[in-house]
């Protein structure tokens, strides 16, 4: 009797583990071999999030708009900062950030949420964070709806062909999201309170990035503190926010070389995160 299967028909499991390169190769082939499973998990994830389809999706659209409103009131009304068309300025940062935030937070619980399964069947656990990151793309896609609405209603003069470059920047961000989510998903198995820390770290990260202000403004403000200035510029979100803002708000092409640097860095991050994940994967079933 032979059954066609996507999982290996026999295996040998021993205390010896492959080296780093072997683990990476294993990770890549597992994700490729199980793409159908990832597809089903993505579908299930989206179904869960849009449980009451209509209402669920309306909140995905309203949420970034409401958050935009909060920052507009805070920055341009209370602090009287903010430049021209500040709502669009801030929205171009909220849109990718919400995507990043949800990818990290969903990735965080992707492995621990499947504990019953992990204790009962053998499958490549890497599919869990990968599926949650892929499902997160929908979050971003829905965020584009209010963006288009805003621009058509209030900022027609800022519409340009540069908007078509958004997907290119999003690809770079996707790789970065993936690396972060895979990494934290593995750590969360061993330290269950990482979620608490992550929430605050993410908020701090947002405020230390050129989200509410432009990079120029932040550079001026931190000119007297060279260390903070260096951290600011090394922050991948400095590049990502600026790139999104270039194409959405300033109608000009992004800084491709800076984006390329972030892409290379993100690929390295994915490799390191996958390596960490594969290293600790054998312990999942014991710890969970």
């Amino acid at each position: 009797m032979s059954i066609k299967a996507e999982a290996p028909a026999q295996f040998r499991s021993s205390a010896d583990r492959p080296n780093a390169l072997g683990l990476l190769r294993e990770a890549a082939s597992e994700v490729l071999a199980r793409r159908r499973l990832i597809g089903y998990l993505v579908q299930a994830d989206m179904r869960k999030k849009g449980a009451d389809t209509l209402l669920g999706n309306i909140w995905w659209i309203l949420d970034p708009l409401l958050q935009m409103l909060v920052y507009v009131i805070l920055v341009s009304v209370i602090f009287d900062r903010g430049g021209p068309d500040y709502p669009l300025f801030i929205f171009s940062a909220i849109l990718p950030w919400k995507w990043f935030q949800s990818s990290v937070m969903d990735g965080l619980t992707s492995v621990t949420g499947a504990e019953r399964l992990i204790r009962q069947i053998q499958f490549p656990k890497l599919v869990l964070p990968v599926a949650s990151v892929v499902a997160g793309v929908v979050n971003f896609a829905f965020g584009l709806i209010p963006l288009v609405g805003l621009m058509l209603l209030f900022y027609r003069d800022r519409i340009s062909v540069m908007l078509l470059l958004i997907p290119a920047i999003a690809v770079v961000q996707f790789v970065f999201n993936l690396g972060m989510a895979v990494g934290v998903s593995a750590l969360n198995v061993f330290y269950r309170d990482i979620g608490n820390v992550a929430r605050h770290l993410l908020r701090l990260w947002f405020y230390l990035s050129p989200a509410l202000f432009s990079l120029d403004q932040l550079e001026k403000a931190t000119a007297g503190f060279p260390i903070i200035h260096k951290i600011l510029v090394a922050n991948p979100w400095a590049t990502l926010f600026t790139a999104y803002r270039d194409v959405i708000y300033d109608a000009r092409p992004p800084d491709w070389s800076a984006l390329f640097v972030v892409l290379v860095g993100s690929v390295i991050l994915v490799a390191l995160a996958a390596l960490l994940f594969k290293r600790v994967e054998p312990a999942f079933a014991k710890v969970l």
């Binding site: 028909a9 179904r47 014991k286 710890v287």
Partner: protein, 295 residues
């Protein structure tokens, strides 16, 4: 060491273990170590505190120096008291747990019926969950499509198959889980405790199905407390105690050793209990409390 001596002794069921029957499972010097440094409750907070206190990390071996072979046509029972490592052994054979020492080789597609409804997605329908479970088990979509009608029929959940799982009763879930887990005949079958779910009719049906699978598979490893199953369906047995093999051989002999050992363990426990009660001054304890301890 008894385990070693017995393994090298002539095989008790010669036509099954000797000769040139191909090997289905080979386990050599398997050890599984658990570290209590990380458990499901560890947090950054706790690890930091432990680091400051410099507490040594507790470890224990759930399995140690376990070696055995299962050849084609064999059906091996694993018996032993609670906490002996029986379920850990099955998890290692299923590839869920990676050995800390030694080697596990499984030459064929394994299926463990541990999987009853573990991966169900509440918002998805029964049909979608069949697909999802198939993908988790690594069964290709063509095979899965072929067996789906059989699963639906066996689970006997009628029109609910197209309703979300969250609307199912627990009996329906268990039936669907069982039907999926047994839908594809594996080369090697791992059974943890013979399943007793659902009503009487379904239990009879599922027993028949398990027997079919046992007959169809090339090798079976069965973990159970039900000695009738061991005598009826297994042609070899191993006795695990505290993570080590203490006896191996013909089912009836191993069961007999197991009975003696558990009898002795029970007597020791009763003696210990009596001692504790005597020390506590059994006269001063209300009868309820004494009974509570005895349970």
């Amino acid at each position: 060491m008894t385990a070693l001596d017995e393994r090298e002794a002539p095989a008790p069921v010669p036509d099954m273990t000797t000769g040139s029957a191909p090997i289905a499972i080979q386990v050599r010097d398997l050890g599984v170590r658990y570290s209590l440094r990380f458990t499901r409750k560890t947090t950054l907070h706790r690890s930091f505190v432990n680091l400051l206190r410099r507490q040594p990390v507790d470890q224990f071996w759930a399995l140690r120096d376990v070696s055995f072979k299962v050849v084609h046509g064999e059906s091996l029972a694993v018996i032993g008291p609670n906490g002996a490592g029986k379920s850990t052994l099955l998890q290692a054979l299923a590839g869920i747990i990676t050995p800390s020492a030694g080697v596990v080789e499984v030459l064929g597609r394994v299926s463990s019926l541990l999987t009853l409804g573990a991966g169900f997605d509440e918002e998805s329908t029964g049909r979608e969950n069949i697909r999802l479970a198939g993908a988790f088990l690594g069964i290709d979509p063509g095979t899965m499509r072929e067996v789906t009608p059989g699963i639906i029929e066996f689970a006997d959940i009628g029109p609910f198959i197209d309703a979300p799982i969250k609307t199912y009763s627990s009996g329906m879930r268990a039936r669907l889980g069982f039907a999926i887990a047994t839908s594809v005949e594996p080369d090697i079958l791992l059974l943890d405790e013979v399943l007793a779910t659902g009503d009487q009719l379904f239990r009879a049906k599922s027993k028949a199905r398990v027997l079919d699978l046992i007959r169809a598979s090339k090798g079976v490893v069965l973990v159970t407390h039900d000695m009738n199953w061991v005598q009826e369906f297994c042609n070899r047995a191993i006795l695990l105690e505290r993570g080590r093999i203490v006896a191996e051989g013909e089912p009836n002999e191993v069961i007999e050793i197991h009975r003696e050992h558990s009898q002795r363990a029970r007597e020791e426990k009763e003696a210990a209990l009596a001692k504790v009660l005597a020390e506590a001054g059994s006269g001063t304890l209300p009868p309820d409390a004494a009974r509570g301890r005895a349970l």
